[in-house]
Amino acid sequence: MRAPSSHELAVGEVLLAVEDVSLSFGGVRALSEVSFNIRKGEIRAIIGPNGAGKTSMLNVVNGFYQPQSGRIVFKGETRSQMRPYAAAQGGIARTFQNLALFRGMTTLDNIMAGRTLKMKRGFFWQLIRHGPALQEEIEHRRRVEEIIDFLEIASIRRTQVGRLPYGLQKRVELGRALAMEPDLLLLDEPMAGMNLEEKEDMSRFIIDVNQQYGTTIALIEHDIGVVMDLSDRVVVLDYGRRIADGTPDEVRRDKNVIRAYLGEPHGVSA
């Protein structure tokens, strides 16, 4: 049940473009001359067999890895590499393949932490934790509560995330990313290791996020079925190269893709 609205958005201007990015660890090539772009308001999927370099791609985008060559154009600003902090400030949020939550903190604190960039009150107000500091804390708590309500995790508000079941942790992580009110949301296998029901919930959330907040989303997902009905456009990587890029149907029909997924010996986890 994709909204027509976000399809129109999908042909919006380019938000982020990756141009001939190459990345290698020691001798190993993770990415070679990969180019693709993400348009405002679309849901963009990055798929490919295991070890195709999908995660590396995201890590380049939000500045964990520094590509040896290539450029990243974000919001019209060209740079040879991102820096994590810059990425965050620029409005790129991210969730991880195998969860990167603050395990020692509660759901509430995790999501509140997502607001850090937006909170300005300085050290000395923090010491007092009254007046402006408290005001700020309250208004951000309000926003966070809306996210909690949106993700239906009210009941675990005060639970330490370390104790939560996997599916819920994924949700909290999404919540933390949403708390940043990002322009671009990178989701690394948001449904990995989930059961069908959880997957459906998560898909619903992703779509709702895209619709209600108009957030641009780039996601890596193994479950091809999910990818196909979630995303507006799909780029396919294999061995660190881009082998296809287009709408789900185009990609599904592309023979390179078929070969990559069926022909190759190495794992197809779709």
Partner: protein
């Protein structure tokens, strides 16, 4: 069981985010403060005040300091002793150069000096973590220790090489020096510790506390939500060292009344570290528990045999303490890695859901 939470509803986030959301806890806090500020001064004898409470409070403050760094920000430090030392020596220099300024002010100001030193030795924390960082702080520990011994200017060239605490008064009442009564010193210490604990709890319950914990739990993710790692870590070092510094200054000025460099030796660092391990990493109340256990235990060990009339050599008691503390630490890590504070929470939870088991 004692908790009656029915009717305690929150109509504002301010109330909901309060440090003590439950009425009974607030009452408990008031009671404790009352005992500390009113009852104990009335009933406490010199021994209780001077030999138990004052050092307990001072060590608690140091423990809070270290806990902010190690427990909240996840940065392991073995330099606590030295940072305390910086505070002490800074305070000495300050009060001897400008005697007219009130000593309490100087005690607090000296915190800034150790904060600065802390930041300096915290710099490596950007590149290194865990044990590596521990070694870096050891460097601080030994270098500073050396300074305390080798730089006579620090101890005003006193022949003994020790700090001699001068007499300082506040509105005519001697606060430091030989003539200061335990009671006044106790009250000064108590007030400082109370206020600084309040500050600490404000910090850890707000944005900064979350940043620290985020860095502790998963620094990569922290960076991704826009937390500047170096700044955050250095802030932790600064605040932590500030607390340790003040604690150090109080240790010398309001308790020992005079001290040599070895007071701030590496053993002191370890002692405070044990306090927060046993008390509970990442909790403020744990810092008090830890301090109580580690500091008051030895006193008890000496007192108990005496109470039963068994003569026990102080040396032996000393050694017993070592053995017991050692066992305690291992036992705690095995039984409850989260320390006394965790036990406290569990007990509290049980009381809240009483009579139900869950």
């Amino acid at each position: 069981m004692l908790y009656r939470e029915a009717g305690q509803y929150k109509t504002s986030y301010a109330a909901d985010m309060a440090v003590f959301p439950i009425l009974q806890d607030r009452i408990g806090l008031v009671v404790i403060l009352f005992i500390a500020f009113v009852v104990l001064p009335l009933v406490g004898n010199e021994f209780l005040l001077n030999a138990v409470l004052i050092p307990f409070l001072i060590f608690s403050l140091a423990a809070i300091g270290l806990n902010l760094l190690t427990g909240y920000a996840g940065l392991l430090s073995l330099g606590t002793g030295a940072f305390m030392g910086v505070g002490a020596y800074a305070c000495l220099k300050l009060t001897t150069t400008l005697p007219q300024v009130d000593i309490v002010v100087w005690i607090l100001v000296s915190g800034f000096f150790s904060a600065a030193v802390g930041v300096l030795f915290g710099l490596p924390s950007l590149r290194i973590k865990g044990f590596y960082l521990a070694v870096a702080t050891l460097a601080a520990q030994f270098f500073l220790e050396w300074c305390f011994i080798r730089v006579p200017w620090l101890f005003n060239y006193s022949v003994s090489g020790a700090i001699e605490v001068p007499l300082r008064t506040f509105m005519g009442i001697p606060i430091t020096g030989p003539t200061a009564t335990p009671l006044t010193r106790y009250l000064v210490v108590l007030s400082i510790v109370t206020v600084m604990t309040w500050f600490a709890s404000n910090l850890v319950h707000g944005r900064i506390g979350r940043m620290w914990m985020a860095v502790r739990d998963m620094d990569l993710a922290a960076e991704l939500i826009g937390i500047r790692l170096l700044r955050t870590k250095l802030l932790a070092f600064a605040v932590s060292s500030f607390y340790c510094g003040v604690a150090g200054a109080m240790l010398v000025f309001l308790w020992y009344g005079g001290a040599e460099a070895d007071v701030f030796a590496v053993d002191q660092s370890f002692l405070v570290l044990f306090m927060i391990i046993i008390g509970g990493l990442g909790t403020l109340i744990g810092s008090f528990f830890g301090a109580a256990l580690i500091y008051i235990l030895p006193i008890a060990l000496r007192a108990i045999p005496a109470a039963f009339g068994l003569p026990i050599r102080p040396a032996t008691a000393e050694q017993m303490t070592f053995v017991i503390v050692g066992i305690l630490i291992v036992a705690f890590l095995v039984l409850e890695p989260n320390g006394l504070a965790r036990l406290w929470q569990i007990g509290k939870q049980k009381l809240r859901i009483w009579p139900f088991p869950y």
